[in-house]
């Protein structure tokens, strides 16, 4: 039974891909058929995922692989394959479920868009690719799906192609992720070169298994870091995060699906998947690569949360919150809490999707208005959206008890606390928690509390097709907390393979109380600052310079434009100039020399040879005339000459001997 499922594990990504191909071939007008097909695809994928998930429940630490040859070059064969293990199964279910909700939501949201069918093609293509990433057993197959995911995100961000800003954002996303991918590609090459295979698990000889790791040896850290570049690019970590906020140009369901739940999570999933590389040769859990991961994670988390405080676009705030949450996940992975990181990832997938869809329905309600300063007091106008949004907000800021986010955040703080290298990340993360709570409450207040402002005059509740997914996602966030509480860490056990047993006592932990206090403090602080919000943002009022710094996203974009982009563009112009003038110049110089040489030989020929030959001819003619005088025609003169010459010869002979 297991064999059967693993061998055709490929069906899970294949169904959505097939769906997208079919929808692509449909004419643009067949709107409903397209949507239905996409939904069916997604449901099928979800069903299969649940089936696979149920399979992994049988034995703890379950792992089934199916490898096959993709192609043979020369005498070598390149093998790829699928793997089914708790990590993959959990991700499969999360992606499928969240994807389904978003599909349903986007039916409503995109209803009045003329390229409706094409949207669903791209969505199902994306989910297919994402599913492919999750189940890949070879780093190469993972990379292939990784790139397809990048392509899907490019297409989706630039969906409204007529908007130049969307196209620019798509291009920016594509290129920045591509930079990360290049690092990832080099990592793959290095790994393949060293360990001889790219298969993760190949019953003993895989690159993540002992044999492969030993073959890697010292270069494991470099490979890990290079692969981490890919993760940084895709998950929008510190240096390469600039594309994520711009990616909000795309439709909200896109942002929800891609920039909240799935794609950005791929980076974290990647680090989790190749964790043995990172942790190879770890002395009590600390390796250089992991420390790098932690430091990047910390920087990203703090920076993003600070910037979120200064943003006014509803979706950008959420984007920055995603960036900071991903930073947090990276930190948890870095400090060794893989299971904690994954759990937070899954939980975050749900409530971030919820928040995005909430924002989507708010925007839909406020007639495409994005600026939170123009909203307010939607509490009563859009009650369902308000309620679900509040639940999402509570989960995100880490309120424990009923909300999944809280427990996972708690778990992560627990892991950072026990990190041997240093305690700094632990404290910084605590600050991160406060900041998260702060900007979420700011957003809540701006949108739902206070009196209505311009855009929210005639706001109205979104139709059920949009509110239903919200409710589902909200309920999921709450239900999920059940399996996440340290009291009954079922998911943790599932992921790490240990058995989970119910124990309320675990709850009573000092860190739990500290985090609770921090969250409450954060919310209280938020209310304190933004209670009477009017016109200008209080923070801006208090610290204008700092606020403008944050609002402009720490001028990172401008920095990049002025440095990296400018220099490379200048390099391009330089090489073009070099090409046009230097190398071509060389060729022209050579041809010039050739011409000069030609001219030289021509003159030489004209003056030197011709003139010389003319002289010679006149000279010979003169001699000729002299000689002819000798030929008088008299025979006897000739004979006399003969006689004389004989004589001369005789005399000569005589004189010589």
């Amino acid at each position: 039974m297991t064999r059967g499922i693993v061998t055709n594990l490929w069906l899970i990504p294949a169904v959505p891909l097939a769906a997208s191909l079919i929808i692509l071939s449909l004419a643009n007008s067949r709107r409903s058929a397209g949507a239905v097909l996409a939904i069916i695809g997604q449901v099928a994928a979800l069903a299969l995922s649940i089936l696979a998930f149920s399979l992994t429940l049988q034995t703890p630490g379950f792992r089934a692989i199916h490898n096959f040859t993709w192609f043979t070059f020369g005498e070598q064969t390149l093998r790829i394959g699928w793997v089914l293990d708790p990590l993959a199964a959990a991700m499969l279910v999360m992606i499928a479920l969240v994807g389904l909700c978003i599909f349903i939501f986007s039916i409503g949201y995109m209803a009045d868009d003329k390229n409706f069918t094409r949207f669903f093609t791209y969505l199902s293509f994306f989910s297919g690719a994402m599913l492919g990433v999750v189940i890949a057993n070879s780093l190469l197959l993972l990379f292939v799906c990784w790139e397809l995911v990048g392509l899907a995100s490019y297409l989706l961000i630039g969906f409204w192609i007529e908007k130049p800003s969307a196209a620019a954002a798509a291009k920016k996303a594509f290129i920045t992720t591509r930079i990360g991918d290049m690092g990832f590609f080099l990592g793959i090459l290095w790994l393949y070169g060293r360990s001889g295979t790219l298969l993760f698990y190949n019953d003993g000889s895989g690159c993540l298994e002992n044999a492969g790791l030993v073959a890697l040896g010292a270069s494991a850290t470099f490979v890990a870091l290079l692969i981490f570049c890919g993760a940084v690019g895709k998950s929008g970590q510190f240096p390469l995060h600039v594309w994520l906020p711009d990616a909000m140009e795309g439709p909200t369901p896109v942002s929800a699906l891609i920039h909240a739940a799935t794609m950005v999570a791929a980076g974290v999933f990647l680090v989790a998947r190749v964790y043995p590389l990172f942790s190879f040769g770890a002395i009590n859990g600390v390796t250089p690569s992991l420390t790098v991961v932690v430091s990047i994670g910390v920087i990203t988390a703090l920076m993003a949360s600070l910037i979120a405080l200064g943003q006014f676009d509803i979706k950008r705030i959420l984007a920055y919150s995603t960036v900071s949450q991903l930073g947090l996940m990276m930190v948890s992975l870095g400090v060794g809490g893989v299971a904690a990181g994954m759990m937070h990832l899954i939980a975050h997938g749900f409530f971030k999707a919820l928040l995005f869809l909430g924002a989507g329905s708010v925007i839909h309600g406020c007639h495409q208005e994005h600026d939170i300063r123009k909203m307010g007091g939607l509490r009563r106008l859009m009650p369902i959206t308000f309620l679900t949004y509040a639940i999402g907000m509570m989960a995100l800021s880490g309120v424990p008890f009923f909300f999944s986010g809280g427990w996972t955040k708690e778990e992560i703080l627990h892991a950072t606390a026990h990190w041997h290298a240093s305690h700094l990340p632990h404290y910084l993360m605590l600050a991160g928690v406060v900041l998260t709570a702060l900007y979420m409450t700011r957003q809540m207040i701006y949108i739902f509390f206070g009196n209505r402002r311009a855009a929210s005059e005639d706001a109205h509740e979104s139709p059920p097709v949009m509110t239903m997914p919200l409710i589902v996602l909200a309920s999921c966030s709450i239900v999920l907390s059940a399996i996440l509480t340290p009291a009954w860490p079922w998911l943790h056990g599932y992921l790490t393979g240990e058995s989970a047993h119910f124990d309320i006592a675990v709850l009573i932990q000092p860190t739990l109380f500290v985090s609770l206090a921090l969250v409450a403090g954060g919310i209280a602080l938020g209310f304190a600052i933004y209670r009477r919000v009017a016109g200008a943002d209080p923070l801006e009022h208090a610290q204008p310079a700092l606020f403008r710094f944050l609002e402009n996203k720490m001028w990172l974009d401008e920095l990049y434009d002025r440095t990296v982009v400018a220099y490379s563009r200048m390099a391009a112009r330089l090489s073009d100039w070099m090409d046009r003038n230097v190398w071509d110049g060389l060729v022209r110089a050579v041809s010039g020399i050739g011409q000069i040489f030609g001219i030289l030989t021509d003159n030489f020929d004209e003056r030197g040879i011709n003139a010389g030959i003319d002289e010679a001819t006149t000279g010979t003619r003169g001699i000729g005339r002299v000689m002819s005088a000798w030929h008088s025609g008299q025979i006897q003169t000739y004979l006399r000459a003969v006689g004389v010459s004989v004589l001369v010869l005789l005399v000569l002979y005589a004189w010589l001997t």
Binding site: M627, A629, H631, S632, G633, Q634, I635, Q636, L639
Partner: protein
């Protein structure tokens, strides 16, 4: 004065120079031919003399050469005289100095 080879050579030399004299100094075409014949005869005399005075039991090459040269000289004389006649018919004179048509 028993005839020694040297004597014969002297005689043939004198004959040769008389022939040369005739060729160089006489203006009449036929005399030139006579001169040439004399010179050839002198040469023959030399051949036979050397054959005769040469170390014996030798094959008669000298004689052979003399015979052949006589034959050839005869042929040459015939053609020479024929030419003299033909030239005479054309120039109406046999004075050699007049035949300078091949002047350079």
């Amino acid at each position: 004065m028993t005839p020694t080879l040297q004597l014969f050579l002297v005689i043939s030399a004198t004959l040769f120079c008389i022939g040369l004299l005739a060729v160089l100094s006489r203006r009449h075409a036929i005399f030139i031919l006579i001169g040439i014949e004399l010179m050839l005869a002198a040469a023959n005399l030399n051949f036979i003399a050397f054959w005769r005075f040469g170390p014996q039991p030798q094959p008669p090459t000298g004689v052979m050469i003399a015979i052949f040269s006589i034959a050839i000289a005869a042929a040459e004389a015939v053609v020479g005289l024929a030419m003299v006649i033909a030239v005479y018919r054309h120039y109406r004179t046999t004075n050699v100095d007049q035949f300078d048509q091949l002047k350079g």
